[in-house]
Amino acid sequence: MARKFTPKVVTANHLLEGDVIYFTADDRWTRNLCEAELIEDEAHADVRLLDANRDQSIVVGVYLADAIAGTNGPEPTHFREDFRRTGPSNYFHGKQAEAKV
């Protein structure tokens, strides 16, 4: 039996900066997971993955990552995606630092 589809966001890294980015419902790339489009339907996820992959000159390594609806938009369900949206734990670098600016 096929596994039940779990909600996803489209994510990638920015070509120039390498920074983690997410695909929004209005076809933009954002640096904040909470602004990403949360995709609840598998067929729609496939289409959005194709849409995102068209931006080859902006992004690298597009994939679907599990997420759930939170109070302020999508949130990660796995610790890997949590690190990607935050930054490393040994230094205050990456997104966690940029958010403070």
Partner: protein, 556 residues
């Protein structure tokens, strides 16, 4: 130290210019990522979790002070002010931006460094004993041959698209500090009938299928070495499993075919290759050897050093831990720990790199080394300079006296940076070091090698740690498996799994229990953790790790 000739410099400049153009074409959209990826990997540029990562080779771990200063410049100008020294004697920059990378490579080229073949299915940076050319126990300096191998393997047309990556390590000392038995090819310089040659070890490796390398040939002469290695690599290049990434390394080829069958194929290929070499490599080696002559060792009094040693306990502690015997009595090999308790193993700030370069100029004839254990070495220091050197290091948080002890932990970047990782490594290393410092038992415990990997690929060498820690993802939660009894030396042993893994919160207390159990059961302070483990076996250590299972068994 090897200085690039005109050919080397021109080759590197051309290669860097090519990559600059490739980056431009990727940015303007003429190249897709699928086209660009192999090109960037050929030049050491990875894409990691949060950013790009540039991996720069430090050939056989040897650096001049000028090169170290340039590494500092890169850290400051194009990264976040630090660099990470790795278990393969490379340095990694964790935050470069794609458009800056060509400038970084040009800056490296100015001092004879590059990032070529630090990734991809090629022959990687040739690593060597970090005490090469200095150690009292050394038979011969392996670095001229390591440099010959670097030149032979760099851009070797036959070896650019192999079944998988290929790693070579070399040591000139019977006490193996280069983990030669965990490499695709390991070379140990040995003496036979007054002649120095090479014991060639093949098929070692860590990763998901750890294997101890096997001696394919007990003695290969200098003249035969390059054609013999080319024969090994070319046989594997044809026969290695390209159908399955996880079975592609030479260790699997040798294991599947059997050493004798593989050796016969190598001998056959060697017979074809040997006449083609024609002796040029030996002429080149003779030239390279001139670059590795020892420095003009100075003569000076060592009385001041002895006085400081006798009167200053802090200095004495550092000397006892961080100094290794030099081939000259009046000199010492200094290991600078970049493992201050609570800090990231292997990281050095730009300021620290500059200071180490300056101290290398003042005290160590301008030479530095990087060890696979992620420390920095000043290979030749006259003992008269040690007190002043220590003072300067200490002031810059570089004077930690912990080399070879619990907190001198090897740790891969883990999930804090690495795209392949399944769990974090760095915070575990930081917490173990901090805890052992709080307990104030580190010097009492003595030599203990803890090695941590954040995934099965084993960049943190966990299989060969006295205590190995492997971070995994178990149903979406970080989980840490412990292995015991590993050994990274010439008597390499792959450690055995102790039992079920521990959660992120429980792994550090588990390691503490192991260490305390060892202190309880050792016969004397001279019996190291690994010796005690070999004497009593895993049972008492497992009992310490799993007290509940132990209590249940006792109640039953």
């Amino acid at each position: 130290m090897y200085k690039y000739n005109e050919f080397d410099a021109a080759f590197l400049a051309e290669r860097n210019a090519q990559f600059r153009a490739q980056v431009e074409r990727r940015i303007d959209g003429s190249l897709t990522e699928d086209e660009f990826r192999p090109l960037r990997l050929m030049n050491g540029l990875y894409l990691q979790l949060h950013a790009y990562m540039l991996r720069v080779a430090i050939p056989y771990g040897t650096l001049s002070s000028d090169q170290m200063r340039q590494l500092a410049l890169l850290a400051e100008k194009w990264d976040k002010g630090y660099g990470h020294f790795t278990t393969r004697q490379n340095i990694q920059y964790n935050w470069p931006k794609l458009p800056d990378v060509p400038d970084m490579l040009d800056a490296l080229g100015e001092v004879g460094l590059h990032a070529i073949q630090t990734s991809g299915n090629t022959i990687r940076n040739v690593t060597a004993d970090h005490f090469a050319g200095a150690a009292a126990d050394e038979l011969a300096d392996p670095r001229p041959v390591a440099e010959l191998l670097r030149q032979w393997s760099t851009d070797h047309p036959e070896f650019q698209f192999m079944p998988r990556k290929f790693k070579i390590a070399i040591t000139g000392s019977p006490n193996d500090r280069a983990v030669t038995k965990a490499h695709d090819i390991g070379l140990r310089m040995v003496e036979k009938d007054g002649q120095i040659g090479f014991e060639v070890i093949v098929g070692g490796g860590l990763g998901r299928t750890p294997m101890v390398g096997k001696v394919i040939n007990p003695f290969v002469t200098h003249e035969d070495l390059l054609p013999y290695l080319e024969a090994i690599v070319s046989v594997w290049n044809i026969e290695g499993r390209r159908d399955n990434k996880y079975k592609a390394r030479i260790k699997i080829t040798v294991h599947e075919q059997g050493l004798d069958t593989f050796r016969a194929k190598v001998e056959e290929r060697f017979a074809v290759l040997k006449p083609q070499f024609g002796g040029f490599d030996q002429k080149l080696l003779a030239e390279i050897e001139q670059h590795f002559l020892p420095p003009a060792f100075k003569n000076d009094e060592v009385a001041g050093y002895q006085t400081a040693y006798d009167n200053d306990p802090v200095f004495r502690s550092w000397i006892d831990t961080n100094i290794t015997a030099h081939k000259r009595d009046d000199h010492a090999i200094v290991t600078i720990s970049i493992k201050q308790h609570g800090k990231t193993p292997g990281d050095a700030s730009a300021e620290q790199m500059r200071l180490m370069a300056e101290l290398a100029d003042r005290f160590a004839y301008g030479e530095l080394r990087i060890s696979h254990e992620q420390n920095v070495i000043l290979p030749h220091v006259h003992k008269s300079g040690l007190p002043e050197l220590f003072k300067a290091l200490k002031a810059a948080d570089l004077g930690t006296a912990n080399v070879g002890l619990v907190s001198d932990i090897i740790a891969c970047p883990g999930m804090d940076y690495c795209a392949l990782a399944t769990a974090r490594s760095i915070p575990i290393a930081q917490q173990i070091a901090t805890r052992i410092e709080d307990l104030k038992i580190e010097h009492e415990v003595g030599e203990l090698k803890i090695k941590i990997s954040g995934c099965i690929n084993a960049c943190g060498h966990h299989h060969v740690g006295h205590i190995g820690i492997l971070g995994l993802d178990r149903a979406g939660v970080e989980n840490y498996q412990i292995t015991l009894g590993g050994d990274h030396t010439e008597n390499m042993v792959v450690g055995e799994r102790a039992g079920p893994g521990f959660s992120y919160d429980q792994i550090v207390p588990a390691i503490e229990r192991l260490i305390l159990a060892y202190l309880d059961l050792r016969t004397s302070a001279d019996e190291r953790f690994i010796d005690a483990y070999r004497r009593v076996g895993p049972a008492p250590f497992k009992a310490a790790l799993y007290p509940e299972a132990e209590a249940k068994a006792n109640a039953a």
